[in-house]
Symmetry: C2
Subunit: 225 residues, 2 copies
DNA sequence: CGAGGTGTTGATCCTGGTCAAGTACCGTGG
DNA sequence: CCACGGTACTTGACCAGGATCAACACCTCG
């Protein structure tokens, strides 16, 4: 009995409450109105990795349109208000929403690709800096940045679980960024005096000499068939 | 001038030739018939990370159906034979192919999620073991495994660029796995005497005591609203 | 008020990186 | 036939980026 898409589809979750459980079938997609959520994975011995962050304005797991199932659990990092979009309705009258959802899938896919590069090849400092600018820009896109300031409700533990580090080390890196004057993070307020500069630190840390003859084997790259 | 989908759409690439360049617009998707390819990213200072592997039978970048554009370059790791599937045709008569492509997108998405967990939280040994079983199983699914043996045309450098390690260290880890009798990798032939056991090594290395009270903060996980 | 979740800092350890040399294995051309 | 040059693989010695262990300060919220 699918209900109309009116205000009745509004759902609330408390901090640390699950929006979805591992392997659970999903007949809807959530559109976050307020609060943050995360997709995560726990290894048998307790190691945790967050594989996606969902911010206000995001669809929470657009790919459920295609799979109808949550591969991994989704956890509220803060109190969350969301609108549930029943998939039955979308499938019945495939309109604008389908394209938005597929766009969301694509965006998440590309974001994940970028994170694979980060986790595989970047230093702790680059990863943390990268996360901060990514979040800054995503919040900026939804008008949630003012005077280079925004609210990041993440714990240092959360950050660690995103960037694949220890909370202790995240702390040190944040301290380092603070010393360099690139980041001011007090309480949950993030202030980036020079977002540009932080972006630079995220790509390839300034120290690391940009090796001009980086190509291991110079594949001409221009020998099309 | 799009050609018919007959045998004329067959395309060949040599080793180290690009199937697609970074940012290039794509009016087709490739279906690999023979050979392996990889999506990769190079940082300004030369660090490389492979973010996807394409095996025979795979669609190469199904999401091009949605984006029409290659975000990252695709490189042939071996000589490649592929069938080009023009997207114009797919959009015109959306049939079975669309679902197959969307399924491919979903599969790649999930695979990337798994790799984020690996790169973020697993040890060198677990990552390498994980890669080998993944490839073994993907080849098995297309009937390319016989007597627990299959062909892996990857260089140790390639493997390193997938698992985010140094080729030197990959070598040591492979040696370790060989000593444990879990892997026999001579030339390009991979032999897994006990695929099962290797899978176990990939999840959480046997040494690592499975911490029973792993939950950092015991979130009841059962307090639905 | 106390308790538990956080953030901060120091000392020490260890996984994996770096540097370097040497080997094996080609396919090429003399 | 062998000499060669290039790529891939191995191995050792040493180094360093983060992890681990531990203690403490802070702060919010029962």
């Amino acid at each position: 009995m699918p209900m109309e898409q009116g205000h009745l589809s509004q759902r609330k979750f408390r901090r640390h409450e699950h929006l979805a459980h591992r392997g659970e079938l999903q007949d809807h997609v959530l559109h976050l109105e307020e609060g943050w959520a995360s997709r995560y994975c726990v290894l048998p011995d307790g190691r945790r990795q967050i594989t996606a962050l969902f911010l206000p304005g995001d669809y929470c797991e657009p790919q459920w349109l295609l799979s109808g199932k949550a591969e991994l659990p989704i956890l509220a990092l803060t109190p969350v208000k969301a609108r549930a979009i029943p998939l039955a309705g979308v499938h019945a009258r495939p309109g604008d929403t389908v394209m938005k959802l597929l766009g969301g899938v694509l965006q998440n896919h590309d974001r994940q690709t970028a994170w694979i590069v980060s986790l595989g090849r970047k230093t702790a400092l680059e990863r943390v800096a990268g996360l901060l600018v990514e979040l800054f820009e995503r919040l900026q896109a939804t008008g949630k940045v003012d005077d280079n300031r925004c609210t990041i409700p993440l714990t240092q533990q959360d950050i660690a679980d995103v960037v694949g580090l220890t909370p202790v080390h995240v702390n040190r890196v944040l301290g380092d960024l603070r010393n360099r004057g690139l980041v001011r993070l007090s309480g949950k307020i993030l202030h980036l005096p020079y977002p540009q500069a932080l972006g630079a630190a995220a790509s390839s840390s300034s120290e690391r000499p940009v090796d001009p003859d980086a190509q291991r084997t110079a594949w001409p790259a221009g020998k099309a068939a």
